[in-house]
């Protein structure tokens, strides 16, 4: 068992920036491209993913000693599916409007690679407390990525933010098109790459 040597705060911030699930690890791309047309969708789906990630990480971390290694993947998927069902029913009951806008994506959280990957790489090997912070970091990283994408697409595409008119015009209507999701994610990844190269050079100079 490879216990992590990182502190809880390191785990937390790694998830948000250096190991950001959308821009750095390139996992869970479907929602990032599919429904990031406005900020509100991003926030809601981000919160749903955060909860599913935290709950299933804690569950797996607590029962890790009882799982037979050969059936671990089915066990992970069933654990995630249980929590997704809970979140799905809660969202459908309390925010029916937004739930409709997100469509099938809430149910699809069950197949998001990021959650299974964190269970396999982290929660299955570490105690509950670090697993919790890792899950919170990853969930917030996903939320952050979705909000950034939603911000860009909503501002440029329809000139609004969270439904309020900000620009008074529609600068680049193209960003409302579903296909623009691919372009936005591509540009953001390139920006993250450039930043990484820049910081690397700064370090070398020192």
């Amino acid at each position: 068992m490879a216990l992590t040597k990182k502190t809880n705060s390191q785990l937390f911030f790694d998830g948000i920036l250096t190991e950001n699930p959308i821009f750095r690890l390139a996992l869970s791309m479907c929602p990032a491209v599919g429904i990031s047309t406005n900020v509100m969708n991003g926030i809601l789906l981000g919160i749903a993913v955060l909860f599913v990630q935290v709950f299933s990480s804690c569950t797996i971390s607590a029962i890790k000693n009882f799982i037979h290694p050969r059936i671990r993947i089915p066990t992970y998927t069933l654990t995630i599916a249980t929590w997704v069902t809970v979140i799905d029913l809660v969202l459908a009951a309390y925010v029916p409007e937004a739930y409709k806008a997100m469509g099938i994506f809430v149910k699809l959280i069950v197949a998001f690679a990021i959650i299974t990957m964190r269970l396999e790489m982290f929660a299955a090997k570490n105690p509950i407390i670090p697993s919790f912070w890792d899950a919170v970091g990853m969930g917030l990283g996903f939320l952050f990525g979705m909000v950034v994408l939603g911000f860009i697409r909503e501002l440029l595409g329809s000139g609004t933010l969270l439904g309020y008119d900000v620009l008074g015009s529609r600068p680049l209507l193209f960003f409302v098109l579903p296909a623009a999701g691919f372009f936005t994610v591509g540009f953001m990844m390139a920006i993250f790459n450039t930043m990484e190269q820049y910081f690397k050079r700064m370090k070398e100079k020192k």
Partner: protein, 317 residues
């Protein structure tokens, strides 16, 4: 190989017979079909009496899910040889729905031939084909619904990998979609356990992946060596869980479910193949350093998505 093929032909034959057997249920009725926007034609086996045929009270038509709402008939035409009746309705018919038509006490050859109840549906094979092509190209899951992207970007670097992944995915997709359809229609729905659909569907997917893995390992190790690595990735693909959910939402029947599953699988294969062809060339292209790897792949996929938008709104039948 040979016994497998012959049993497959036998099964296909059975399916064709079953599909063909779903015609009208009365011995005096030869056929029925939709005509135009608001008409249904009924063909009888022999000439019927004009006074009976022209009476609207002898017909009753409704959509299969709503037996309480009778569709109003505005006029009835009888062909000169008195074998074909055309019912014209006041409102356009929703042809995606099966319609039930009651024909009371058919009067022909001087005697009543009994009441017939029949189901009118659209030309079936055309409809199935449109589901297949729709899932494959027009509403391609990767380029127009943005599902299965993690696996899509992960395995589209080489053509051989892309084809292997596509074939494995299609097989598991069809197997698990049919099982999910069966579970939903015959277990979850009758027992009102709809809310368990996510757990049951993903459970069936991992079960079929595990089963294919175990069987392939023992039966055909060479094939396992070629396709085994992709099996684990199948679970991480959103499409595999999206298709059963769509089947459950749209209340598809067995044949339609099969077509949608095949269409989704082959559509994914097509998308992977197109993308891998481009990415093999991108390897040698001069891409700015910040865009190397995934970012340029995303922009390529965006261009594909724009191209696939051209198919949107297209209908075949």
């Amino acid at each position: 190989m040979k016994p497998i093929r012959s049993s497959l032909i036998a099964w296909l034959g059975l399916v064709v017979v079953l599909l063909a057997g779903c015609g009208p249920e009365h011995r005096f009725i030869k056929g029925n079909s939709f005509k135009g926007d608001n008409q249904i034609t009924i063909t009888f086996a022999g000439p019927v009496e004009a006074s009976w045929a022209k009476n609207p009270a002898n017909y009753k038509a409704y959509e299969k899910p709503d037996p309480d709402i009778t569709l109003p008939i505005s006029s009835i035409d009888l062909s000169p040889d008195r074998t074909t009746v055309t019912l014209t309705f006041q409102l356009p018919l929703n042809k995606a729905q099966a319609h039930i038509v009651w024909v009371k006490d058919i009067m022909a050859e001087g005697a009543s031939q009994g009441t017939a109840v029949m189901t009118v549906t659209k030309v079936y094979f055309g409809y199935l084909l449109s589901i297949l092509l729709g899932a494959m190209i027009i509403k391609n899951f990767v380029f127009t619904k943005y599902l299965g992207l993690c696996v899509f970007f992960g395995t589209s670097q080489k053509k051989t990998t892309a084809v292997g992944m596509g074939i494995t995915f299609t097989l598991v997709m069809v197997a698990s979609a049919m099982m999910s359809w069966f579970m939903y229609q015959f277990v979850l729905k009758p027992m009102r356990l709809d809310f368990l659909q996510i757990v049951v569907f993903i459970g069936l997917v991992s079960l079929s992946v595990q089963a294919v893995d175990t069987i392939l390992r023992k039966v055909n190790p060479a094939l396992f060596k070629a396709f085994g690595v992709y099996l684990v990735l199948v679970i991480a693909n959103c499409i595999i869980i999206a298709v059963p959910l769509l089947l459950a939402n749209n209340e598809y029947n067995a044949a339609e479910s099969f077509m949608l599953a095949v269409g989704a699988g082959v559509g994914f294969l097509v998308a992977l193949f197109l993308m891998s062809s481009v990415r093999e060339r991108l390897e040698v292209a001069d891409v700015p350093p910040a865009y190397r790897g995934l970012p340029i792949a995303f922009i390529t996929a965006g261009l594909f998505a724009l191209a696939f938008m051209g198919f949107s709104g297209m209908s075949i039948f």
